[in-house]
């Protein structure tokens, strides 16, 4: 009787463990296909890196960005959303790469409200090489967004940066191979 119960318990455990292993397997592996799309166009391939989170201001205001790149071009389009209670009119964005800093004008796509915050949606363009070197650094970088009266510094946690930069670096390598 005790043996039967033990056997039953083992089988029940397998029922839960197998899906869990499948789940863990899909989450841990660098399966980059879930994080980008590609579309063949007349002028090269259009790659799209899905929205990434992680950067936030000291006031815990979120910054979400996505990137698109057409293989024939030199520039990567970085579209970003920034959520803040403050009324802002953003004019530019910069990415700090160690001692270097690359900047780009921010073009407004729209401004809406989300719960109690403003949702600022802007678009900017950076050179592919600048984006590649930005994601190549091991230390967590900062992103600055500028408005006429000042700027907001956005930081990312080291652990999040490790995962995010590894993922995007792999996608950028794939894009390089397809140029």
């Amino acid at each position: 009787m005790a043996n039967n119960q033990l056997r039953m318990a083992c089988r029940t455990r397998h029922f839960f463990i197998i899906p869990l292993l499948l789940l863990v397997n899909t989450m841990n592996g660098q399966n980059i296909s879930r994080y980008y799309t590609s579309s063949l166009q007349e002028k090269g391939t259009l790659f799209y890196i899905l929205p990434q989170k992680g950067f936030e201001s000291n006031n815990k205001n979120n910054f979400i960005y996505d990137m698109s790149y057409q293989t024939q071009n030199d520039t990567v389009t970085v579209n970003f959303s920034y959520f803040d209670r403050m009324n802002l009119i953003l004019d530019s964005i910069s990415l700090s790469n160690g001692n270097q800093q690359v900047s780009s004008d921010a073009e407004k796509l729209y401004i809406e409200t989300k719960k109690s915050k403003w949702h600022y949606r802007y678009s900017s363009k950076f050179l592919f090489t600048d984006i590649a070197s930005f994601f190549d650094q091991t230390e967590p970088p900062t992103v600055n967004i500028y408005y006429p009266e000042g700027s907001v510094v956005l930081n990312i946690k080291a652990k999040t940066w490790r995962k995010q930069s590894a993922l995007i670096k792999k996608i950028l390598t794939l894009i390089e191979y397809n140029k």
């Binding site: 899906p19 579309s39 166009q41 259009l46 799209y48 579209n79 796509l109």
Partner: protein
């Protein structure tokens, strides 16, 4: 033996109950895990240089939020002429489901 049968039936009953939890619109379904991309629409516009996405998520089928409309995806990238639209449906067991829409255009 009776206990074993009862346990199997209980397990099946739980599974049947949970199949209506976090489900997502998809051309194919996978009970344990699914991640499927599929087409939504194509237009006569010739080229695409921009991509935008939008998404909605469901947790346990209890809470479902988001805006996975074509409008939201197009607006997120400033697309005014749509070339084609794709969708991606993903779900993990009955706990989590996500539906994404990708709009390509210029």
């Amino acid at each position: 033996m009776l206990t074993k049968i009862k346990a199997i039936f209980a397990l099946l009953a739980v599974l049947v109950c949970m199949t209506s939890c976090a489900t997502v619109k998809s051309p194919l379904s996978g009970m344990v895990y699914s991640d499927v991309k599929a087409p939504v629409a194509v237009t006569g516009n010739s080229n695409s240089t921009k991509v935008g996405s939008s998404e909605a998520t469901s947790i346990l089928g209890i809470v479902a939020t988001g805006d996975a409309s074509i409008e939201a995806a197009a607006k997120s990238a400033g697309i005014t002429k749509i070339h084609h639209v794709d969708e991606q449906s993903s779900s993990i067991l009955v706990f989590f489901a996500k539906y994404k829409v990708f709009v390509y255009g210029e």
